[in-house]
């Protein structure tokens, strides 16, 4: 990692258990400003739990979570609100407000956190919806939208106040290849435009590697990495190697594979 970049989020020896189940066992991780860090791992390994620790929605049993240099455990509600005002979050289930239409969902952060009047809100919301290709969908309710459209509305809402850090929890889960690519394109375009730090939890390997600066694997309740995507794919760490082999497969060889494949039929 390049030392000159500012550390935005730092997890230090974080332990977390739910009942008798140990989910995080001494996890340490640094997220650098302006970079994209992808946390990968099999389902149920605690990827979303790490994200919730960074957001301050969960508190570690031991260890520290520091955001912008401040220990979240020491922060009161007002401090938390101040820290979170620099965050944008795209939840796994998107968490759109289901009794509000698309327009009101996207407008909510502006209405609640700024003193913008309705005219300014309309201009800003229309701009973000246009960026996401959602013109003409303002009056629809979340239940009337497809999965991909919901994700785009969620992204528009997350980016509404030009956040410094944006968290993506499984941004492409449940989407087909085209819709996933669309979300990635939007992510790339908006990050170029707004220059935010991104933390992505995903298992969309290897596609997600193209967008990432650093990749970290969570396995056996511990963090492995972060490493650059190239180094990650060639890592000697047996857990990383197993994960890479499992998700990306060994390098394709027609001689060894095709015969095996056909023999099984």
């Amino acid at each position: 990692m390049k030392p000159e970049k500012e550390i935005v989020i730092e997890l230090e020896d974080v332990h977390k258990s739910f009942g008798s189940q140990k989910v995080l066992d001494g996890v340490s991780l640094k997220i650098l400003a302006g970079t994209t860090t992808v946390i990968v791992g099999a389902s149920g390994q605690g990827k979303s739990v790490i994200l919730k620790h960074m957001l301050g929605l969960l508190k570690p049993d031991s260890g520290q979570v520091r955001v912008f240099g401040r220990d979240l455990a020491q922060c009161n509600k007002a401090d938390m609100r101040q820290i979170r005002s620099s965050f944008g979050v795209l939840f796994q289930n998107i968490a759109l407000f289901d009794s509000m239409n698309v327009y009101d969902n996207v407008a909510l952060p502006l209405r609640e956190r700024t003193r913008s009047n309705e005219k300014q809100v309309r201009v800003a919301v229309e701009e973000k919806l246009a960026l996401m290709g959602l013109e003409g969908q303002e009056d629809k309710f979340p239940a009337q939208l497809s999965g991909g459209m919901k994700k785009r509305v969620g992204l528009a809402r997350a980016l509404m106040l030009d956040p410094k850090v944006v968290f993506f929890d499984e941004p492409t889960t449940g989407l087909d290849v085209n819709k996933s690519n669309e979300i990635y394109r939007l992510f790339y375009r908006t990050q170029q435009q707004l220059n935010y730090t991104a933390v992505i939890v995903s298992h969309d390997v290897p596609k997600i590697f193209k967008l990432s600066d650093y990749v970290a694997l969570i396995a056996n309740s511990r963090m492995h990495g972060p490493l650059s995507p190239e180094v990650f794919q060639l890592s000697d760490n047996p857990l990383i190697r197993d994960f890479v082999l499992e998700t990306m497969g060994p390098i394709y060889s027609s001689e060894t594979e095709e015969s095996l494949l056909y023999e099984t039929f």
Binding site: L57, R81, R84, S85, F87, V89, F91, A95, F97, R115
Partner: protein, 281 residues
């Protein structure tokens, strides 16, 4: 033989000890849960009141909630009030007629309604209609991570979600109780004057002479307290749905918690009805 009995005794002793330990552990866990829950409930109210007092003040969310809690409850309040007044007229006439004092019918109907039945029945109806809806709404928002989303957007859920409901209930409940009382008195008038032979003048004169300011005061205080209890308990149960002992998961979790909220709020209304009456008498 002797050794065998000893072993048996020891086994029975161990079994008894185990069940006693289990019982004590259960008792401890129940007590902890009880205090944690009521402590949380108290903090919830304090946080909501502070959120209500903190500027900037927004009027539109409160108006929307007044429409939901107050205006939308109007039909059920008018209907319940009318029949409560009518039945009071009927029963009052039957009883007072025995003593030859039907001139007190107006006063009896009005005092019963203003002091007791108006606030209590209106509160129970509003709990059934709006309290259950508030609990289900907040509970579903908790279950579908919408409250987490608010927190992550640095929007205080107490200020955004709970405070407008609290203020709206404090404004709506006294007004609903007033409407309940007026319609109830009219119901008593319909039965007493039109169905039986009580004079309209006697009905209203008795009311005018016997209903005092303290009666109205008690009705007002009760409606205020019951409005607070309704929103407090309904929204707190929904807000802490994820901390329910059964996990509060899914549609069943929401429905179970909503039922608990309605029962708890209704019981709280009856308990506080007694307490307020006892304090103000």
């Amino acid at each position: 033989m002797h050794t065998c009995v000893n072993i048996m005794d020891r086994k029975v002793g161990v079994a008894i000890m185990k069940s006693v330990t289990k019982y004590i552990a259960r008792l401890g866990s129940e007590t902890m849960y009880f205090f944690a829950w009521y402590g949380r409930l108290g903090l919830f109210l304090l946080t909501s009141v502070f959120a209500l007092l903190r500027p900037p003040y927004k009027i539109m969310p409160v108006i929307r909630q007044i429409h939901f809690i107050g205006a939308n409850s109007l039909y059920v309040i008018v209907f319940t009030g009318l029949f409560t007044g009518m039945v009071l007229g009927l029963q009052g006439y039957y009883t007072l007629n025995k003593f030859g004092s039907i001139g007190f019918l107006g006063a009896a109907v009005a005092i019963s309604l203003i002091r007791e039945l108006g606030p209590v029945l209106a509160a129970l109806m509003v709990i059934g209609r709006a309290g259950s809806a508030i609990c289900a709404e907040v509970g579903i928002m908790r279950n579908s991570e919408q409250i987490d989303a608010l927190e992550c957007m640095a929007i205080d859920p107490f200020r955004y979600l709970i405070a407008p409901k609290l203020l709206a209930a404090l404004i709506s409940m006294p007004l609903l109780v007033c409407i309940f009382d007026v319609v109830g008195i009219f119901g008593g008038y319909l039965v007493g004057v039109h169905l039986f032979d009580v004079g309209a003048g006697a009905y209203f004169q008795g009311m005018y002479q016997n209903v005092v300011w303290q009666d109205l005061e008690m009705g007002f205080v009760k409606s205020f307290v019951f409005g607070l209890l309704m929103v407090w308990i309904s929204s707190a149960r929904g807000f802490y749905l994820h901390l329910e002992r059964d996990g509060g998961f899914g549609a069943q979790g929401v429905s179970r918690t909503t039922t608990k909220a309605v029962v708890m709020a209704s019981v709280a209304v009856l308990v506080w009805d007694y307490l307020v009456s006892a304090i103000m008498l």
